[in-house]
Every structure is written in structure tokens, then in C-alpha cells.
């Protein structure tokens, strides 16, 4: 059973690969019906699938492919001309074949699909009567009867397992045929390479290795062969011929590559830590000799890690051609369905992308191309009227741009009508009148991605159901991609999908807000600007700033991530200008930390789907930093009322209604126990709650813990660890303590001392010695002690 499964897997993988190529070949074939190379290739696919499926007892599939083979074989021998009608039948049968293969993949059996109708058609095309024995029986259908003698022979001679039963002549012919096939294939490959401007030095000698070099490569029908002298075992000959052309590849389970990628991720994190440690060490042991050596090692490690990362990334890369291949067929079907003339030009199908991304971009491209065919390209008569060639062109391009891949879809159709788009959206209530007015052309183009939007007047089979383009947007955004649309009315539309090369490791800009850090994917950052508070204006309750010629709407990162404003914001702030397609947003942050390569880690099942957070990464210091989801952030920003840099002092928390004297809390900060006791004695009669701290550091920690809401602080100036001035300055950094009265209690009496006290934010200055009454009255005054408590 297991062995069967293994064979089945191989069969499926092989078949799907063959079919992928088949679609393209068939469409090409329609344009050049006489191309024997192509025909041979297509015939071989049908033949291979037939052979394998009969071996695996998939009778329905065998039955179908057998008839396909008949038709193709005749065409190959020039007995049948491939007309569009014939092609329709062939394409239909290939669709059936795909459906069957899918069924086999899902259920391991080929039941449930009726192929008889198609087989009849195929049979008619190949000149038969159309009376074909209905298949689906357990035994392979005895269809040979409707097939001409020649075909039987041909296909029989090609069934590889039959080698043993062949006559020597047949064998000779078969060997010859296989050889020619191979050579023909090689020639095609060579031609392609030459066309692509590559030199082909290594191919020639390789070909010489084949046991029987024949001078003329391309040939279709078996030519009499010069008998080979030492033809030992024919069985061995076949594999021997194949050996030199076997591709140097290994199939690897994707899971293994994913695991490898994860390990590399860990390595990158370790590298980041190493660099950080190196920096620290450098600072501490400046000038030491061993530093240079350490530096070298660190830079080698970081260099190799980067190379390794790229190498592993490359193993996961697939050419985008894998996705592009299905489009010629799709366009062909669409042109017939829509009665339009459309040509598809493909460029850069060799461009490589990460496997997971290749899988994600397939669907969006289908939608975009369908859309271009349906809405973009006009019908031939209209095109002629507008002075365009009747045949419309869709260009599909892929190319590298920085560390992004750009997939560009251009059509020369009617283009997008901005006014019509806006009206349509207004009708459907997708946007408001006001939004429509203030909308730029680019923003209007982006309307086609709104869910529920469809410009098709009538719902056709092809598009117009109002789903599709929004799927494009979600899928592309899922892989951190950006969509850019450009269009000119009457000239055409160009859609660009900009997609990152890989998903796992990205460049990020690290920003700080209060005591927290966040990572913003660098791909979405256009620029950073340093601004002062007075450059921020408020328009309709939203903060904006002027950036060169533009007005940029602003949002504070703290408002989005509910960051508590503990530290006072400084006069200056930084604005990170985020760009996503056509929309821009300024994100206000407190500090810019720097650029770093980060490894995206998921927050796990428990925390998935948090708005505005794309994941997390582990920093050089071992801490976790959240990664900003720019797409979601832009959405959230629309609904966040920016408090920007306005002072939202959380005074509310401090102004508790005082109902008894002990609701008042005063902190006494002094390093001398005696002094603390003296102050305590002076204040105790009032019934206040008194908290003591031995030095500035301790006082600050008590404040930070936030267990009490202090109404005033009595601070000694001379203290170990942190003196009174420093303490006052530190306290004033916190927004919520801005208005906390700080009273200096000191024996320093100099004028300059008093000045320093005022500078650091002290409101009163009591010099030792003092009377208890004086101290008490000063405190009472500063905490607004209610007289009724006295």
C-alpha cells in the first residue's frame, strides 16, 4: 500500500508538472499548427499520463488520455489539421484530465467524472464513428478497435515495459525514436538559450555522450538506423541515454526548508546579539588589543550569516513562470468567451520569488488579468473606432527592484474613468461625497479594490460579481506587498504589485515611544522627519502637518497602541512617513532607535489577530519588540482621534476627593533618620499619611510603583545615590507628577542653591533649622489641606 502511495505521489507530481507545460504549448500550437516539435511534446504528455495511469489502474483516465493520444498522433503525422474546433475538444479533454488528476489526488481513485462525451468528440475528430464503448469498467477499455492499425503499433512500441517483447527491428526503431526525441528536445532548449542570448558551450559535448550520435537532430518519423555494433542489453540502453540529461536537482520536502529557514532566523537573532555585545565590549575596553580580533570574528560571523541567509532563501525560490504559465490558456479561453482579441505578452518569467509568496500571488493575478480582459480591453469594433489595433495586448512583466519583486500587468484597454469610479462608489455608499471630492486620481483608482465594488454593468461569467479585486488587495497585503495603479483614460491601465522577496526576515526601523519600542517594516517607510510641536496643526479634530507641498495627516503611535504617557514629551518629536500604495500617513514617535534586520515571529495562537501588530521579534538584548502592521495601522489611524502632543496630563487620577486627613499622602525624602523623624513629628498632628524614603533613588522607585498618589514631597538636597536636585528633575519628567509640589528642606542656604532648587522644579525652599509650625503650614498650603480637618 505504501509503495503504491509512493508511486501515486510521483505520478501526480509528474503529471501536474507536465500539464502545466501543456497548457502553454497548446495555445502556442493553435497559432502554429504545423509545429511538429510542439505536437510531439504534447503527444508525449498524453502518452506518458496514459502509460502511467494504466499501470496504476486508473481506467477512466487511461480511456480519456488514450483518445487524446489518438487525435494528437494523427495531427503529428499530418493526417489531421489542428483547427480551433479541434483545439476546443483537445482543451476540453485536458481540462477533464486535470479534473481527474485532482480527483485522484484527493481520493486516490478516478471515479466520479464522466468523460464519455468528450471521448466521443475526440473520437469523431480523429475520424472514428463516435461510437465508443463506454468506459469506467474495471478492465482497461478495449478501445483499440476504433483506432487505426498504425496508431496501435505506434503506441505499443512506445510502451516502455514492452521492450522485452519487441522484435529486434522494433527495438531499433524505438531506440532511434527515443534518441530523436531527446535530440529534438535538446535542440529546443538550445534554441531557447541562444534566443535568450546565452552561450551554450557545455551542451554540445554532453550530447556526444549519447551512445548513438545522429547527425540530423529534428525529425519526426523514425528514420532507418545504422545498426549499432555493440548493443548489449536494450534495457540498459534506455537509462544510459537518460543519464547525461538528468537534471542535477533533489526534491526536498518544504517542511525541511521551513525548518532550515527557522534555524537561520535564530542565527540572525544571535548575530544581532553578538554585534550588540561587541559594541558594549568595545566601549568598555577601548584600545585593548584583543578587540581587533573580536571585531574580525564578529564581522566574519555576521557576513557568513547574511550569506547563509541569502543562500537558504534562494533554495526556497521558484521562478514566477510557474504562475505565469497558466495565463496564456486563460487568455485564450477568455477571448473566445468574450469575443475579444487579446494577446498576452510575458516577460521575466525567470524572476524568482519565495515559494510561499508564489503560492499567494497566483489568485490575485488571475483576478487582475480577468479584470483586464473583461473591463480593460474593448471589443474589436470599438477598438477599431478609437484607432487602436483590433487585438488588445496585455503585458505581464516580472522584475527585481531593490529587494522587492515587481509584477506589472499592463493593458492597452480603455483605462479607468475616475469620475465613473467615484460615482459608482457614491451610488453604492462605499464613500461619502466629501471623500469623493478630496480624492486624488490615484486614490480613486484604488477604489476598485473596495469590497463590493464592480464596474461591470452586467454580471458576466468572467467578472462583475463584486468579489475579486478586494481579494487581490487582501492577498497582496498578506505578503506585505503593495499595489500601485496607474491609468490613462482611453490608453490603458497599469497595475504594479510590489512584493518582498521573502517573508521571514525583514529590514525594520525601530522607534521608541515612552519606554516602549516598536519595529516598522522599512519597506513601508518613505522618510523620517524631525519636527517641533508647533509644526502640528489640528484640522477637524485631526492632527496634520505640512510636509513640503503636501498636507500629511498625523497620528501618534501612543494613541494606537494605548501607550501610557508617563514621561513628558519633549519639544521635538519624529514623524515616520509611512507609504502604502497611494496613501500616506505620518506616525509620530518619541525617538528613532535605528535600522535593524529582524526576524518575524508569530505571536502564537493565543494572541493572533491583534489589530496593528504583525508579529514580534526578539532583539539583541533578548527583549521582545512588536512589529507594526502598517496596513492595519492605516485603517486604525482613520478612527483614532489624535491627541498628538497636546498635554493630556493624567491629573484626573490625582485629584481624588479627600474625605479624611489620611487621604493626603506626603513623602519625606531624607538620608538622615533623625531629620525624617523631626519632619514626621511636625506633620503627624495633621493626620496625613507619611511615606519615607532614604534617598532620591528610593523615592523615585516608590513614585514609579504608583502605589500612592502623592500630594507633596519634602526633599532633602544632600543625599547619597541621588541628590535632591536630580530627583526633582527626574520627577518633573513624568507627566503625571508635573504639578506635584516639591518642597526642599535643606541646610544649604546660599542664593545659588535656591536658584538651583527653582530650576529643578522645587516650589518651596525651607532651610534647616525650622519650626514644626512653619513646616506644617507650608505643607498645608501646598497640598490644599482642607481647613475642616484641622
Amino acid at each position: 500500500m505504501d509503495e503504491f502511495q509512493e508511486i501515486l505521489q510521483d505520478f501526480l507530481v509528474e503529471s501536474f508538472e507536465l500539464i502545466e507545460q501543456l497548457d502553454q504549448d497548446l495555445v502556442e500550437l493553435e497559432n502554429t499548427p504545423e509545429d511538429l516539435e510542439l505536437l510531439n511534446g504534447i503527444f508525449r504528455v498524453a502518452h506518458t499520463v496514459k502509460g502511467a495511469s494504466s499501470f496504476l489502474n486508473f481506467d477512466v483516465l487511461t480511456h480519456l488520455t488514450h483518445h487524446m493520444e489518438d487525435v494528437l498522433n494523427k495531427a503529428r503525422h499530418g493526417e489531421l489539421l489542428i483547427t480551433p474546433d479541434v483545439m476546443d475538444v483537445v482543451l476540453e479533454s485536458i481540462d477533464l484530465m486535470k479534473a481527474l488528476l485532482n480527483t485522484i489526488r484527493d481520493t486516490s481513485a478516478d471515479a466520479g467524472i464522466d468523460v464519455s462525451e468528450c471521448v466521443v468528440k475526440l473520437d469523431k475528430v480523429s475520424g472514428g464513428t463516435g461510437e465508443v464503448e463506454t468506459p469506467v469498467v474495471q478492465e482497461a477499455a478495449p478501445v483499440e478497435e476504433v483506432v487505426e492499425e498504425e496508431t496501435v503499433e505506434e503506441s505499443a512500441s512506445e510502451d516502455e515495459p514492452d521492450y522485452d517483447n519487441m522484435t529486434p527491428d522494433d527495438l531499433e526503431a524505438e531506440i532511434e525514436r527515443l534518441l530523436q526525441e531527446r535530440q529534438a528536445e535538446d535542440k529546443v532548449k538550445r534554441d531557447a538559450k541562444i534566443a535568450a542570448g546565452e552561450s551554450v558551450p557545455s551542451l554540445e559535448p554532453e550530447e556526444e555522450v549519447t551512445p548513438e550520435p545522429t547527425p540530423e537532430p529534428a525529425a519526426t518519423t523514425p528514420v532507418p538506423v545504422t545498426p549499432t555494433p555493440a548493443k548489449a542489453a536494450p534495457k540498459a540502453a534506455a537509462p544510459a541515454k537518460k543519464a547525461p540529461v538528468v537534471e542535477q536537482t533533489i526534491r526536498v520536502d518544504v517542511k525541511r526548508l521551513d525548518h532550515l529557514m527557522n534555524l537561520i532566523g535564530e542565527l540572525v537573532l544571535a548575530k544581532n546579539r553578538l554585534i550588540k555585545i561587541n559594541d558594549d565590549v568595545e566601549e568598555r575596553y577601548e584600545g585593548e588589543e584583543f578587540l581587533e580580533e573580536l571585531n574580525q570574528v564578529v564581522s566574519i560571523v555576521s557576513l557568513v550569516t547574511t550569506d547563509l541567509q541569502i543562500a537558504v532563501m534562494k533554495t526556497r525560490m521558484l521562478p514566477i513562470g510557474k504562475v505565469f504559465n497558466k495565463f496564456p490558456r486563460m487568455i485564450r479561453d477568455l477571448t473566445r468567451e468574450l469575443d475579444k482579441k487579446i494577446e498576452l505578452e510575458i516577460f521575466g518569467e525567470d524572476t524568482e520569488l519565495d515559494k510561499s509568496i508564489v503560492e499567494e500571488v497566483g489568485d490575485p493575478l488571475v483576478h487582475i488579468i480577468r479584470n483586464s480582459c473583461d473591463h480593460g480591453i474593448e471589443i474589436p469594433s470599438v477598438r477599431a473606432e478609437n484607432g487602436k489595433p483590433e487585438t488588445g495586448t496585455i503585458k505581464l512583466k516580472a522584475y527585481n527592484e531593490g529587494n522587492q519583486i515587481v509584477i506589472q500587468i499592463d493593458d492597452d484597454g480603455k483605462g479607468l474613468d475616475v469620475e465613473m469610479l467615484k460615482n459608482k462608489c457614491l451610488d453604492k455608499g462605499l464613500i461619502t461625497e466629501k471623500e469623493a471630492e478630496s480624492m486624488s486620481d490615484k486614490e480613486a483608482f484604488a477604489l476598485i479594490f473596495k469590497p463590493g465594488f464592480s464596474t461591470a454593468a452586467a454580471v458576466t461569467n468572467v467578472s462583475g460579481r463584486g468579489v475579486g479585486m478586494d481579494v487581490v488587495k487582501t492577498n497582496i497585503e498578506k505578503v506585505n506587498g503593495i499595489i500601485d495603479i496607474d491609468s490613462e483614460l482611453g490608453v490603458g491601465t497599469s497595475i504594479k504589485l510590489k512584493i518582498p522577496l521573502t517573508l521571514a526576515i525583514i529590514q525594520a526601523l525601530l522607534v521608541g515611544v515612552q519606554e516602549e519600542h516598536y519595529a516598522i517594516p522599512l519597506a513601508s517607510v518613505l522618510e523620517t522627519v524631525r519636527i517641533s510641536k508647533d509644526e502640528i496643526y489640528t484640522v477637524e479634530g485631526r492632527s496634520v502637518m505640512r510636509l513640503r507641498e503636501e498636507v500629511l495627516s498625523l497620528v501618534h503611535i501612543g494613541d494606537i497602541f494605548e501607550v501610557e504617557r508617563i514621561l513628558d514629551a519633549s519639544e521635538h518629536a519624529y514623524v515616520v512617513v509611512l507609504g502604502l500604495g497611494t496613501s500616506k500617513l505620518g506616525l509620530i514617535v518619541d525617538t528613532l532607535v535605528g535600522q535593524e534586520e529582524i526576524v518575524i515571529k508569530s505571536l502564537g495562537e493565543y494572541l493572533k489577530g491583534i489589530e496593528g501588530v504583525a508579529g514580534a521579534t526578539i532583539r539583541g538584548d533578548g527583549g521582545v519588540t512588536l512589529i507594526v502592521d502598517v496596513v492595519a495601522l492605516m485603517e486604525i489611524a482613520k478612527n483614532v482621534k489624535s491627541t498628538a502632543l497636546t498635554d493630556t496630563t493624567s491629573d484626573a487620577a490625582l485629584i481624588h476627593e479627600k474625605s479624611k486627613p489620611s487621604d493626603y499622602v506626603v513623602m519625606i525624602v531624607d538620608d538622615s533618620k533623625t531629620d525624617r523623624t523631626v519632619m514626621r513629628k511636625a506633620l503627624e498632628p495633621l493626620g496625613l499619611t507619611l511615606i519615607e524614603a532614604g534617598d532620591g533613588q528610593e523615592a523615585l522607585n516608590i513614585l514609579k510603583q504608583g502605589d500612592h498618589h502623592f500630594d507633596a514631597m519634602l526633599i532633602d538636597i544632600e543625599m547619597p545615590r541621588m541628590d535632591g536636585y536630580t530627583l526633582a528633575t527626574e520627577i518633573k519628567k513624568y507627566n503625571r507628577y508635573k504639578n506635584l509640589p516639591l518642597i526642599a528642606v535643606t541646610s544649604r542656604t546660599g542664593k545659588s542653591d535656591r536658584m538651583r532648587g527653582v530650576e529643578s522644579g522645587m516650589v518651596e525652599y525651607i532651610t534647616k533649622p525650622y519650626s514644626s509650625d512653619y513646616l506644617s503650614s507650608v505643607v498645608q498650603r501646598n497640598i490644599n489641606f482642607k481647613s475642616e480637618f484641622l
Binding site: 535564530e266 537573532l269 516602549e516 494606537i560 497602541f561 494605548e562 501607550v563 515571529k601 508569530s602 505571536l603 502564537g604 495562537e605 493565543y606 494572541l607 491583534i610 489589530e611 496593528g612 501588530v613 514580534a616 526578539i618 533578548g622 527583549g623 521582545v624 519588540t625 512588536l626 510603583q705 502605589d707
Partner: protein
């Protein structure tokens, strides 16, 4: 003297054998305290118990999800059981621990007030949760009775399930 020792040793061996005999019926739990109550979870659900650790706050989550922390390269959510159980927040002390629990692929760290001990309890001593608390939503797996105390045994899968 040595006779006495032998006696003691043989007694101990007997005891051990006894417990081994019934090992099928015995559940091993780890007990911990949150607020005033003692709770327990199966020892096998615990990946590790660690001392408090710096963590990173995560926005837009309920208060009891205090954030995420880095455990040897994995980003793990941290849940404060005091807050989850509706108690008032408390400063972390020397006894505070993070218990990292795992159930299938789900993993999270939980802040608890203090550990008590590893508990071996007979299955027969575990009763069902009180009827008023029974139901599909309950986090209580059962109630263990041991000498003079009652231990609430929690369902790890329910603890690890996201409920917001």
C-alpha cells in the same frame, strides 16, 4: 542499630512499592496559590517554572494578558492569573513565578503568587467540580481532597484557550 536501619529501609521500600503499585491511580499535580486559594495543574502540562522576567506589553488585549516574553527564542504570551480570576493586581514579590504551560501547540506563561508543592493525589480523592460551576465553560477540572485542605484542579486546555 543496623537492624533498625534495615527495618526502616525495608519499610520505606514497601511504601515505595505500594505507591508504585498504584501509580496508575495517582495523579501528580503542582500546586500554587493565587490570592487566598490553592490551585493545581497536572505536572505533565508544565513545560517549566521560571522566575519573573521582563516582558513586553501588547496593546488591545484584556488586562489579564500582561504581554509577551522571550523564552529561548520563542515569543510566549504572559497571563496574570490574579487578574484573570478577577482579583486585584498585586506587586510581584520574591515568590512570584511564571508557570509555562503547554497543551498541544498552545503555550503560554502564567503569573502566579507563589508555588506550594508537588502533589501526589489518588484519582479517587478527586471529586467533580461543584455543580454550580460545572458545565462546558468551567475552568475547573475537579476538586482534590487531601487531609485538611481542598485543591482546585484547573483545566490546562481551558486556561490556554483564548477567550477574547
Amino acid at each position: 542499630m543496623s537492624d533498625k536501619l534495615k527495618q526502616i529501609i525495608s519499610k520505606q521500600n514497601e511504601k515505595q512499592e505500594e505507591t508504585l503499585d498504584h501509580s496508575d491511580d495517582i495523579v501528580q499535580l503542582v500546586g500554587f496559590v493565587i490570592g487566598e486559594e490553592e490551585y493545581a495543574i497536572p505536572i505533565l502540562a508544565i513545560q517549566e517554572i521560571i522566575k519573573p522576567f521582563p516582558w513586553t506589553r501588547v496593546p488591545q488585549v484584556p488586562k489579564y494578558v500582561v504581554g509577551v516574553f522571550n523564552m529561548r527564542g520563542a515569543v510566549i504570551p504572559l497571563i496574570d492569573l490574579r487578574l484573570k480570576f478577577g482579583l486585584s493586581p498585586k506587586k510581584q514579590s520574591d515568590e512570584t513565578r511564571f508557570i509555562v504551560m503547554r497543551h498541544g501547540d498552545d503555550i503560554a506563561g502564567f503569573v502566579i503568587d507563589r508555588l506550594t508543592m508537588a502533589i501526589r493525589i489518588k484519582k479517587s480523592d478527586i471529586g467533580p467540580p461543584p455543580e454550580t460551576l460545572a458545565g462546558d465553560d468551567t475552568m475547573i477540572d475537579g476538586v482534590g481532597k487531601q487531609e485538611d485542605r481542598i485543591i482546585t484542579i484547573l483545566k490546562v486546555d481551558k486556561l490556554l484557550k483564548r477567550d477574547f
